[in-house]
């Protein structure tokens, strides 16, 4: 069931993401062309260098670069907006009449959307990277990469010292923190929408915003309290540990916090969808 839910989730969201990525890639390609014609990497210019036409052309190229940078931010921002919007429209809107009468548990609905959100986040990041490559890649760069990257990878994974092990673990921890961050971040917004849905009939979105503000504030307060507690409970002798270990501890603490947040928001949302649903 989870697989089927994800399949339909992808089908529905791909209609939004793929065009967005294509626009981004086209924009970066156009930008590249304009820059090249402005003598960016070679001395070739479309119009005679220094002429009015060329100056106007270069302004155009510069403007396009600005638009492209904005587009990158837009893609990342919209990626997030789409996840949140999907949840609201698909489960709590009219489509909820279809989705919530399927013989699946609410938790399965949530996992399907969460996993899909992670995958699209990765895709958006890759699309942005690809667009940057289109913009910046040149023959020298390719040559350098082909010559040096395989060697670099080999050296990285050749475990010949304790430091190397630490680095590999740092990378794993970093990835884990980012993945947990996506899940708990998205789940937070789902929980706010679910609470808004539960609390009010006529002002669901407004209540959701209210929930967002209250929970954000509460999380700050809890954060400070935890800091104070840990300050008085733990003697900071662990700060005498070598720096590598401190970093690991911080990463793991970060992961645990993320998991705890995720768990709380998941339980709240699951409970509301399962036991307090009120679709209009």
């Amino acid at each position: 069931m989870l697989g089927k839910l994800m399949k339909y989730e992808f089908k529905a969201t791909a209609r939004l993401f793929i065009p967005m990525y294509l626009i981004l890639l086209v924009l970066s390609s156009v930008n590249r062309v304009l820059l090249e014609l402005s003598g960016y990497s070679t001395n070739f210019t479309l119009f005679p260098a220094g002429s009015t036409l060329q100056n106007i052309f270069e302004m155009l190229a510069g403007t396009t670069t600005m638009i492209y940078v904005l587009a990158i931010f837009a893609v990342l921002f919209l990626t997030f907006i789409i996840f949140v919007y999907r949840f609201y429209k698909n489960l709590l809107g009219d489509e909820g009449y279809l989705m919530m009468t399927l013989p699946v548990k609410p938790s399965q609905q949530l996992w399907a959307k969460l996993h899909t959100s992670l995958i699209w986040t990765i895709c958006s990041a890759l699309a942005c990277c690809l667009s940057l490559v289109i913009l910046l890649i040149n023959a020298d760069g390719v040559e350098w990469m082909v010559k040096n990257l395989p060697e670099m990878f080999r050296l990285m994974f050749q475990i010949d010292s304790v430091e190397k092990v630490h680095i590999i673990f740092y990378i794993i921890e970093l990835v884990a923190v980012m993945v947990i961050g996506v899940y708990s971040g998205v789940m937070f917004y789902y929980a706010c929408l679910a609470i808004g849905h539960r609390m009010s009939r006529k002002h669901k979105l407004l209540s959701a915003v209210g929930a967002y503000l209250i929970i954000s504030f509460a999380m700050q307060v809890i954060g400070v309290i935890l800091l104070i507690i840990s300050g008085s409970v733990f003697d900071f002798s662990f700060m005498n540990l070598p720096a590598e270990w401190i970093f690991h501890i911080m990463m793991i603490a970060s992961m645990l916090m993320g998991i705890a947040e995720f768990a709380v928001f998941f339980l709240i949302t699951n409970n509301i969808l399962g036991k307090h649903l009120n679709l209009e």
């Binding site: 089927k4 339909y8 009449y97 919530m100 013989p103 699946v104 399962g274 679709l279």
Partner: protein, 233 residues
Amino acid sequence: MDHILECRGVSKNYLAQIPALNFTNLTVNRGRIVGLLGPNGSGKTTLIKMASGILTPTSGSILINGVPVGPDTKNMVSYLPERTYLNDWMKVRDIIQFFTDFYQNFNPEKAYDMLGRLNINPDDRLKTMSKGTKEKVQLILVMSREADLYLLDEPIGGVDPAARDYILDTIISNYSENSTVMISTHLIYDIEKVLDDVIFINQGNLVLASSVDDIREKQGKSIDAYFREVFRC
């Protein structure tokens, strides 16, 4: 369990004072076609939505086949809402695939057969269809499921009289002996001929639950006439 649907002490209060529904107890038997009749705003849709699981009762419980409403009962219930709830951008074929994927008791051959008889092209996208055609597609999807309980909310409201007859015929010929069809409507005259039982509901309260034969015998009039009498404004 003989009762396909059972309400125990069910009530629904929104945050307003007047309860939307206050059905202390109700049982519905298998293999019957039941009319859920009442004026606008009487709570028909509220009851149906609670039995389908998209609305939760404030108190009490609803049991389908003895099982409380939840993911297990959703397989047993086939619900047709009043509104169009299908993705506009999907083709009919895609939606049939969707139903096939999620419902084991969905019969795609039946669905295609009915679509064919109504001259609906499965490769059309829903957004290109008229409201009436969309409603027919939804009805076909719901009736192509071999469910224990069909909950149809105003299935003949927005369609022309000829289509109404077709829809009623579809309903009769497509449900199995052991299934119950509950139809909520105020077009009583059209639907009376197919009903076995009726439930009258007013302002959230159960006014009457009886078989059609009993009413005709005791009251000596048609359901339509009796309804007008009971719910005279």
